[in-house]
């Protein structure tokens, strides 16, 4: 069983986390620290256990071994929005919360993601980008100290994705939770994170500090160099031509 130390402070501290599925060791003694308010991106090829690590931090997987110290207030946004289709948008936002002024809190959170007008809509009437913003509002309304993002932009089209990334950057700058962003997208990681981690062989294999001023630009030569580094680490050899692969899967 995972020992979840709940008295842990605002940051994340994981020591020797091991998770075995059948005879496959997915996580093999992972050590991970995230400072309060730090934005960390977790990269890795498919099947390296990125989501497994995120689920362990969310407290959704009690089958691993090791020490996990996470803040009490956590929120998760998944690749799919996972809204309950039979509950109105605002009820989805405050799902599981108690208190008298739930509607007001839902409205406030929805206003932050620009969807105040859709509070009474059914989730099935929303577009993919809107649904994902509602999922963000649902995370925000919990004022999380740790925000876990599991490829939250993976299912969005390119344009919507850019907007959603900018929204996440804004919200993070305003609320300053610690963030763990699981992603396949090297550029996304470098645009948003303070630090990019590479998960490989069941461990954090490499760490890339992203010491670029915000807002960041894809054209920045330092950005390009970091990106080359990261792609290299992911085992994707960047071709010499200007057109470079973006995805690792």
């Amino acid at each position: 069983m995972t020992a979840v130390t709940t008295e842990a402070p605002a940051g994340v501290r994981v020591r020797g986390l091991t998770r075995v599925f059948g005879d496959r060791t997915v996580l093999d003694g992972v050590d991970l620290d995230i400072a309060p308010g730090e934005f960390v991106a977790l990269l890795g090829a498919s099947g390296t256990g990125k989501s497994t690590l995120l689920r362990a931090l969310a407290g959704l997987d009690g089958e691993g071994h090791g020490d996990i110290g996470v803040p009490d207030r956590r929120a998760v946004v998944y690749q799919e929005h996972r809204l309950l289709p039979w509950s109105r948008v605002w009820k989805n936002v405050v799902l599981g919360l108690r208190g008298g002024d739930l509607r007001r809190r839902a409205d406030a959170a929805l206003a932050e993601v620009g969807l105040a007008a859709r509070a009474d809509a059914w989730p099935l009437t929303l577009s993919g980008g809107e649904s994902q913003r509602v999922a963000l509002a649902r995370a925000l309304v919990r004022t999380p100290e740790l925000l876990l993002l599991d490829e939250p932009f993976g299912a969005l089209d390119a344009l919507t994705r850019l907007k959603a990334q900018a929204l996440v950057a804004d919200l993070w700058a305003e609320h300053r939770p610690a963030v763990l962003l699981v992603t396949h997208d090297v550029e996304e990681a470098l645009l948003l994170a303070d630090r990019a981690l590479l998960l490989s062989g069941g461990r954090i294999a490499r760490e890339y500090p992203v010491a670029l001023p915000r807002p960041r630009s894809l054209e920045d030569p330092r950005f390009t160099a970091l990106r080359r580094d990261l792609l290299d680490g992911l085992g994707v050899a960047p071709p010499p031509a200007p057109a470079e692969p973006e995805e690792t899967t």
Binding site: A58, G59, L60, R74, A75, V76, Y78, E80, R82, L84, P85, W86, S87, L95, G96, L97, W122, P123, L124, T125, R138, R142
Partner: protein
């Protein structure tokens, strides 16, 4: 009837023009055409029946529609249809009142609790394979020829479809929704109330529809023998005396009961599943 559809009164046009579409008259006309197309098949069958019976194509034992309608009106007037229909309805309602809660309860237990599944599912699945109508003789021996055996058999019939659909509806709820609701801090009861039951509801309503259909079927069978009231009794008597118009009246009543049941479930679905996109558009 057909002329009504081609040249409807203004009042019947209004509800079709609800959507604020610029060319709303065009839309209204289209829905109207669509509806008349849907009805046209039924009308054709009824006309064929009337004409065919009068011309003798359908044999001497098939009365024309008009005669059946006359007979139906007479039976309503004399109270014969009403009183017997009342008896039959009470039988079905009693059977449903026992069978539906039982099917729902067992389905919930088996769907929500692993213990419940282990204990309940295997015996129910085994019993389900037995056509419940084969139990008619057994029920008559056990409970006599009175109401108990009839109501009991209707109850048994409706348990299984509802049970199966409740069980599978619960098990079919998207695991990812459950997980995300759990990470939102929902407890076990909250999960059941906010996620699992609403998620299973479409399937539960399918089960309800099947159960209601089976209730009517069972009613037909249990009223075939050893009864002195009910619409099954009416049709039996009529067959013995070759009152074919009465036989057809009862058949029409059976059909209407089925249609009414279906409409009822549809109304329930429309209200309970309003979140579905197709229904929300209105």
């Amino acid at each position: 009837m057909t002329t009504d559809l081609l040249d409807p009164p203004r009042s019947s046009l209004a509800p079709t023009g609800v959507r604020p579409v610029p060319a709303w008259t065009g839309t209204a006309l289209r829905t109207l055409l669509r509806r008349s197309r849907k009805i046209s098949g039924l009308v054709a069958v009824l006309v064929l029946w009337e004409v065919g019976a009068r011309a003798g194509w359908l044999g001497s034992t098939t009365p024309p529609l008009s005669q059946v309608l006359d007979r139906g009106a007479a039976m309503i007037g004399s109270g014969e249809l009403g009183s017997n229909l009342g008896v039959s309805l009470v039988r079905v309602l009693k059977g449903l009142a026992i069978g539906l809660p039982l099917g729902l309860g067992l389905g919930l237990l088996a769907g929500l609790l692993t213990v419940g599944e282990d204990v309940i599912d295997a015996p129910v699945q085994a019993l389900r394979m037995l056509p419940h109508l084969a139990l008619v003789p057994l029920f008559i021996i056990w409970f006599g020829i009175g109401e108990t055996s009839k109501v009991g058999l209707i109850a048994v019939g409706v348990v299984f479809p509802l049970y199966i659909n409740v069980f599978h509806g619960i098990r079919g709820v998207d695991e990812r929704l459950v997980e995300s609701a759990r990470s939102c801090g929902l407890g076990r009861l909250g999960l059941i109330r906010r996620v699992i039951l609403p998620g299973a509801l479409p399937q539960i309503l399918v089960g309800l529809r099947q159960s209601l259909g089976l209730a009517w079927l069972t009613l037909v069978v249990v009223e075939q023998s050893a009864t002195s009231s009910g619409i099954g009794f009416v049709i039996n008597q009529a067959t013995q005396f070759m009152r074919m118009d009465t036989v057809f009246v009862v058949l029409v009543v059976y059909a209407l009961l089925g249609v009414a049941t279906d409409l009822f479930v549809r109304v329930v679905e429309r209200r309970a599943l309003a979140w579905r996109k197709g229904l929300v558009a209105r």
